[in-house]
């Protein structure tokens, strides 16, 4: 991921004003993470470790897709704010739901 870290985050339209992102490298990351997920799911380790590591890997993969394939990494800050706007609402909903069981 570091190979693209020096790109300007304030570049205009995606695909312009920055080097071509390493799409194939991200693809390899996604495949390796998917294989790791399937492997971890069937390991004989405590369930909470499996669930935690699976969720971390899923969020990691989702971030790779959003940042690189959806070009969010190179979008103006204002668009990125727009994109993350619904996430606090999602977080509140999930937390409130989980509180039912705590």
């Amino acid at each position: 991921m570091s190979e693209a870290g020096s790109h300007s985050a304030e570049a205009g339209d995606a695909g312009h004003g920055h080097e071509a992102p390493k799409y194939m490298l991200i693809w390899v990351y996604l495949l390796v993470l998917t294989l790791a997920e399937v492997g971890v799911a069937f390991l004989g380790i405590p369930k909470w470790i499996i669930v935690t590591s699976l969720l971390i890997m899923a969020v990691w993969k989702a971030l790779l897709v959003a940042l690189y394939y959806m070009h969010l990494k190179w979008e103006p800050k204002r668009l990125r704010i727009l994109v993350v706007a619904p996430l606090p609402a999602v977080a509140i909903m999930i937390i409130v739901i989980m509180m039912e069981y705590v």
């Binding site: 693809w27 899923a58 668009l79 727009l82």
Partner: protein
């Protein structure tokens, strides 16, 4: 003087991105809330009745779905490659990558149809034959979540077919990339949702 200064000022640029892209992102934000609603209901039902859920691989065919996940991830790469080809005015590349994306989207749907058929006809769950949407909370949530996702893939495949048809007429290029980029945003979002669903529905 004041009028001259106002006239010289650059026009309001808003979000600094073109309107269709903002529109797609706003739509995708609403989609985030839609799938969050589904996933939230799944979490509350599953925690409330954990006995009603099978272990990974017990009912659902994880290897087949892992292959399907692989196909969808590959289709995301070809989609982004189609966009890059349009920027580089590589007409052959645009056609090839759009066709591959379309093909892999259709393959995903085909494999999902096969998976559904196998589950409904031959699935075994809690002593009953056939894993259907009526098979308790497990069956209901499984078919609702994967079904809504599959419907999104279907819409994406239709749009990809349209984009491919336009590519045959050479309509995409450095001066006309917006349609491909906006379609790509939708397609990557569908891939992103599947990444989450595959994890929580099949592996946990």
């Amino acid at each position: 003087m004041a009028h001259a200064a106002a006239a010289a000022r650059a026009p309001e640029r808003g979000l600094d991105v073109y309107t269709q892209k903002v529109g797609m992102w706003v739509f995708l934000c609403s989609e985030v809330m839609f799938f969050a609603g589904l996933i939230g209901s799944y979490v509350i039902l599953r925690f409330g009745a954990s006995d009603s859920w099978g272990q990974p691989g017990e009912v659902l065919n994880v290897p087949v779905t892992a292959v399907n996940t692989f196909i969808l991830i590959c289709s995301s790469v070809t989609m982004v490659k189609a966009f890059a080809a349009a920027e580089a005015d590589d007409q052959k590349g645009i056609k090839l990558y759009l066709f591959l994306t379309f093909l892999m989207g259709a393959m995903f749907l085909g494999i999902q149809a096969y998976e559904y058929t196998e589950l409904i006809l031959h699935g075994e769950w809690q002593g009953s034959h056939g894993f259907t949407p009526q098979a308790g909370l497990y069956g209901a949530t499984f078919f609702t979540m994967t079904g809504f996702h599959g419907f999104h893939v279907f819409l994406g495949v239709v749009c990809l077919g349209w984009a491919f048809k336009r590519s045959l007429a050479g309509e995409w290029g450095p001066k006309n990339t917006h349609g491909l980029e906006v379609l790509g945003l939708y397609w990557h979002f569908v891939d992103l949702v599947w990444i989450i669903l595959f994890t929580i529905v099949y592996l946990i």
